[in-house]
Amino acid sequence: MNKLAVVLVVVALLAMGGTEGLAQREQVRIGISLPLTGPASASGKAAEAGYRLALDEINKAGGVLGRRLQIFIEDDGNLPAKGVPIFTKFVTVDRVHAITGIFGSAVGVSIVGPAKLHQPLIAMLGAASPLVERGFADYPYLFHYHPWAYHNMEAVFNFMDFVRTGTGASTIAILYEDGPFGSAGIGDTRAELIRRGFDVPFMESFKTGSGDFTALLSRAKRHPVDVLFWIGFDADALPIAVQSREVGFKPRLIFGTPASWPVGYEGNPVARDVAGMAGWTSASPLPASKEFVKKYQAKYGSLSEEYMAPMGFVTLTTLAAAMNKAGTTDKDRVAAELAKTDAETPVGRLRFKPSRLSPSVHQGFDSDLWMVFQFREGRRVPVWPKSMAAGPLAWRWR
């Protein structure tokens, strides 16, 4: 009797496992690793909102391969120590068909080993460091959507050329944070600006979040500076703008490149005509962007200015579209379809091409992704490139 009971229990458990396995197989599963806590959480949460918006749209339109798309979102905190176990869990426990997200370069570098071991299809949202690009050399399943860091700098140089041509600006002061984000390649940046005909009489590092820029700005004030170009984080945006006024430093343009801006900065008069670089703004004139803004507002009742929101949306929708075109979740066939992507997206036209440093990597957006905006009347008004501009560059910063 006892033996019979044991056999029945085992059969029941197997049946349950089998049913669960079947249910799991019925859905297409995608793992998403994002920094939902920590300093990069503003970008991570924006991307999450974009992914969820895409999920709704995909499932409303019939899902992927006629089945509901299921996503697993995990918080990597932008930390390799969390990113690697999450990546491994996606592959070994959740048995996902593709992995996306991965915002920070540190996480991107840390998953190179596990990725080469398990060989999943990866649609990488961020991670701009060329270290990631080199790490994934010879890996055929990486689709990197975000521009690489050198693309970002190309966009900066092109904008500076535009400023010089339009205004006659010739002198740039550079402030950069002394961590990897601000200081990587800063010497090359200066050299390239000089090569393009600019004078860079002042360049100095700072500790992000220190809050005191008065000494550095007092030094910069001694030079006839047209443009103050700063590379740092959101915490540095207000002190730089406020303390420039305090010490009487008046460049004709302040141009910063943080990944995100402080809450309330747009509406602050101190930010007026301060320029920033973004992959997208809600004021973008692109038809796909206007459509995205409408859908976003309908779902969330508010508007995001973080470009990671449309980036998350684009990543999931193009990945799902490739699976549908492939007619299977087989990674080789999905990768082949994803490589053929040619889509007008909220952030511009997406086409994959071989990456510059590691041609096996499929690179999506490049320097064309970036636009420059200025804060004006509480909004971000695109001013460059001309095709995206909703207003002229306000030059004489007051």
Binding site: T37, G38, P39, A40, S41, A42, K45, L175, D178, E204, S205, F206, K207, G209, S210, G211, D212, T214, A215, L216, S218, R219, R222, D234, A235, A237, L238, P239, V242, Q243, R245, E246, V247, G248, S260, P262, V263, G264, Y265, G267, N268, P269, V270
Partner: protein
Amino acid sequence: MMDLFLQTLANALIQSGTYALASAGLALAVGVLHIVNFAHGEFLMVGAFVAYWLSVLAGIDPIVSLVPAGAVMFAASGVIYQASIRRVLLAPELNALLLTFGIGITLQNLAVLVFGATPRVVHTAYQLTAVTLGPVSVGVAPLMTLVVSVTLLAGMYAVLYRTGIGKSIRAVAQNRTGAHLVGLDVDRIYLLTFGIASALAAIAGAMVLVRIGASPHMGFGFVLKAFAIIVMAGLGNLTGVLWASLVLATAEAFVRTYVPGGGGAAEAVFFLLIFFTLVWRSWRTA
């Protein structure tokens, strides 16, 4: 050249006001309760967020919010004291250090959960205003911080040396057992002192809000510098806080201005000052 020198001195003087305000509470807590409160920076952050929300929701200027920010932190610190600090005052000092460190981390992460990690900024009319005197230009906001700082420290000094309650606080600071034997309610005085120290941190937070905004991670840098200041001033020496703040701010300003690469290196100045102060003290007493 002289213009830059004078501007650097002015920058240092202005920054010393912020440092003094951020350090005064820590000096009081160390001097009376004999604990190094590593949550002091997060109390400053709480003050900044109170002032931020009062500005956003009710349009109250951060200068006016000094009072509610201080009051909120005074009340909150009472709860924190009764629930945790009080229980480790007689334990080895390491316990209090770890406890306050834990409180700080908890508050910081709570702020991230509730408000998000992105800094928040407010707008005031005087944020755009500077006072120019010859070649020197200084902002009105940090000037106001300096005035508030000096006023509060002078007030604190007056309370400690001219009032009965101040006398009681000094008595407890000097000898807890002796104060208890002569009938002072030591626990109550600890509670009051911890409340005042915490309120001072919150007031500092409200003051820096105008210049650097509010964010969950803003406090840690301040507490490290405040620690350097109280080491220089002498642990618990409230009157020394002003000159020690001026020394730190001046050293930082001169490193930023005259040392190549000093923009990043200036943040290490407080480590050097702690090091030299401790070495000098041990050499003097040897």
